[in-house]
Symmetry: C2
Subunit: 507 residues, 2 copies
């Protein structure tokens, strides 16, 4: 190559604060990135480079070393220095910035990727996933959304697609207040904030109330996403067992000893167990909470999905001291991709939540807010709910029947009166993690119980979501599950050693 | 009232850990919230209550006090104790939980509500807002979105409305990679993450890279939302003046002295000044950054909106060391209500950003992601961009002409070659805050310069957004502005004292 190309109108500045080798490296670097020096071009030997710029050989060596560190040139031993290929692969391999070293401490945990994996579940290719808590996509009211979207006549509402207040689209906040009114929660628009799913409600509450070292009380087991958010906040987690009557004495002990900032609960069709807290226990809990001025975060995504009697009133409907923060979502009853949930709480809290949300996304997406608002205002929700309730009831019953038929007493469970999940106890000596591992080979997935605990529990429990697939697939799932279970139980018996147990004793 | 109603089948437990007055208060509370004791009902006098339960009068007084604190009863002096009205107003007035005392330290600042107010701008009722950086709602391609939404035939894509990966809707990530490819940014899908507007990109980057005490370098002035996010992170902010050539020596000094985690920049059609960083300075900046392994956050919402020559390549297009994180959004070119932006960066960073985003909202809304993906894939973006560029150019020119006509030399500015804003310097002795205050009375708003600085600057600067309104309103805005400006300047001259200055000397 014609090396004079390198410095047609360039003079080194010996008085610059920048060392000479860096001045040369910068020049070469600009020639390389502008493709004046193309990939693969051979650069002059160090001696020649030094002569060209009138510098020492050490200076020219340092200039090449610097370019090599930036990934711009490659040195081939015995051959010389060449301009490197700037491919996509190289960009990703570039270590120009040591990203991993720059990151803030990560909220990594054994749970940290479970939620993402659940969300990422592939429903195609003959797999049966009873893992993610998903409605059946076939039931998403897409045609209704299309009709509602087309109602936008002449663009009169175009401004609604611009920026709206952080608290949410005004008409939707009003409609949600109306929706809650019908459930005995009497609030006004200023008590309502629209969120990006109830996940965001959880995140915002945690951001606004929890600092590292604060205490938060959760049920055990409980929703994975709540575990993750609380863990990431640095809060210390106290647990209340879900099984049996509500442990008032234990809670009161926590309240007195630790003064927790928050109690997180799913009182209705609890995730994962399906439990419904009876009304008298709800009232007793509220009295205890009121006395201690305890804030309760009530997560209520499932209460519209009852398959027999309607559930008791929500904690928020019974709240007389103003301490219940209510979260719900349209993800389970309409579709998750809307990413629209809402929080109902005291205006002081709503206001502070909005301040945080502003930094995160300014406001939630208007398209879905407008569509849901029209759907509610036109009275289309009750018919849709009646339809999915009827379908999900059939599915619950189909899975229950199939499990009883195929798995007999190997799996036991209580019949959930609503919601999405069947919470099963494994009655043979097989661990849920091992069961999932083997079931996955047959194309079946579910969530092993451990995921719902912050303590080392749940190794003999699994959560099956019965809403995503039609009856015949639920039946097929139960069959596959029974086969894997039987095989593992036999293998276990034959060897007479607990194959999966060495890592962690059963407690 | 028949006070025997109060305790038909209730016995106090003298051995309980719960004091007697609380046992009584709990009983009454449950009667009130269940409406057994209706609002307005008169409760027995303390003496009678004591007799009824066989307790001391102090105990019955304490029981009523406790209920009063909970807002459940009201004491009317000389009349007695009554069950309170449980209205919405009361729920909001309830101080059952002292919310303000529970909040984590707030990122409050003089700036903290400005962004929300801008977003909340009311465009109706004859007001002319040149404040928020908003496209004209009349240009939102609503009909196109309707057409694209209706293309969903037979629900084959219904699963796309379920949960999708946190990083975004796969086909959209691919389309965005294609969009960037045409701009000289050659990346693959794994380098792209979809965010809820570029605001969320900013938030996530800050969350992942900045800890309290870290340094971040920003241009001064710069985007309000960036100031707020960095401030909330607890980072210390170093500033680089935007006016004049890029201050390389100052930046290098910062890099050596403070080792900042991040440089935040809007190189193209800078907000608020409209400045474009020339290509040679971009290259020089990247060389400097590469040597110091400095991460650069390039915010690029405006580069498609050029009104003459196309702008130079983005920093990301020129990035050879992999240190540039690129943020952009569809808010300015399509419509803000989609809440869809994207980040392009090294996969290590994308992966960590996704981990954080998962806690915040699981993933961004699918409806808008699907619509934008279809819009890109069907090649509809270039025509829309050509249309809005032509319109916004007319508007920029109309505002410029009107300002020159009405305000003469009272306001000076450089002609922005693209973007949304005209950045004006006030050449008469009038402060921008005062000007806004008076202009607002005429129904005109804009952003005073102070909002864009973290230092006490900008008191003689204002930002006018020229894209939201048609030409005749921009002309009207310039007229109103000139009148207010002239009036204030005269008033100032007459009094010969600087009316707005006492609070803060001009620097």
């Amino acid at each position: 190559m014609n090396i004079s190309k390198l410095q047609p109108d360039f003079k080194l500045d010996p008085h610059s604060a920048q060392p000479l080798y860096l001045q040369i490296a910068d020049l070469l670097s600009s020639k390389i990135t502008s493709h004046t020096l193309p990939a693969g071009a051979k650069l002059p030997p160090e001696r020649k480079l030094a002569a060209l710029f009138g510098v020492s050989r050490t200076t020219s060596i340092n200039a090449y070393r610097c370019l090599e560190q930036q990934g711009l040139v490659e040195t081939k031993v015995g051959s010389g220095t060449y301009v490197a290929e700037l491919s996509i692969t190289r960009e990703n391999a570039l270590s120009g910035v040591p990203w991993h070293q720059l990151f803030t401490p990560s909220p990594q945990s054994p749970l940290s990727s479970i939620l993402r994996e659940l969300v990422d579940t592939n429903l195609d290719s003959g797999n049966i996933s009873l893992a993610a808590g998903m409605p059946d996509p076939a039931f998403y009211p897409v045609k209704l959304f299309q009709k509602l979207f087309n109602q936008d006549k002449g663009g009169t509402n175009k401004a609604d697609l611009g920026h709206i207040p952080t608290e949410g689209y005004g008409p939707l906040r009003l409609s949600v207040a109306g929706l809650l009114d019908a459930k005995g929660i009497h609030l006004s628009m200023e008590n309502i904030m629209i969120t990006a799913g109830s996940q965001q409600g959880l995140y915002l509450i945690s951001k606004v109330l929890l600092e590292p070292g604060d205490y938060v009380v959760v049920e055990s087991p409980t929703f994975i996403g709540a575990h993750q958010v609380f863990q990431a906040s640095g809060a210390r987690v106290l647990t209340l067992p879900v099984a049996g009557a509500f442990p008032f004495a234990l809670l009161e002990d926590y309240l007195i000893r630790y003064r927790p900032k928050l109690l997180y609960m799913i009182p209705t069709y609890h995730n994962p167990t399906g439990r419904v807290l009876p009304e008298n226990q709800r009232r007793e809990l509220l009295q205890l909470a009121a006395r201690h001025r305890l804030a309760i975060l009530e997560d209520d995504p499932y209460s519209d999905l009852y398959y027999g009697e309607e559930p008791p009133p929500s904690l928020k409907a019974l709240d007389t001291y103003g301490g219940v923060v209510y979260l719900s979502t349209f993800s389970k009853i309409l579709c998750p991709g809307l990413r629209i949930g809402y929080a109902a709480a005291h205006p002081a809290l709503i206001n502070r939540l909005a301040l945080e949300k502003q930094y995160i996304d300014l406001h939630s997406n208007n398209l879905a807010q407008i569509l849901i608002c029209r759907l509610l205002d036109q009275g289309s929700l009750p018919a849709h709910l009646a339809f999915v309730r009827a379908e999900y009831k059939k599915r619950r019953d189909a899975l229950v029947e199939a499990l009883r038929h195929f798995c007999h007493q190997d799996l036991t469970f209580s019949l959930p009166e609503g919601g999405f999940y069947l919470w099963c106890k494994i009655q043979v000596p097989v661990l849920s993690g091992r069961l999932l591992h083997e079931a996955a080979k047959t194309g079946l997935s579910f969530v092993p119980g451990e995921a719902f605990y912050s303590t080392p529990d749940g190794e003999r429990e699994i959560r099956l979501c019965f809403t995503t697939h039609p009856e015949h697939l639920l039946s097929e799932a139960a069959k596959r599950l029974s086969e894997v279970l039987a095989r593992l139980a036999r293998a276990d018996k034959r060897k007479e050693t607990p194959v999966s147990i060495p890592f962690r004793p059963i407690v």
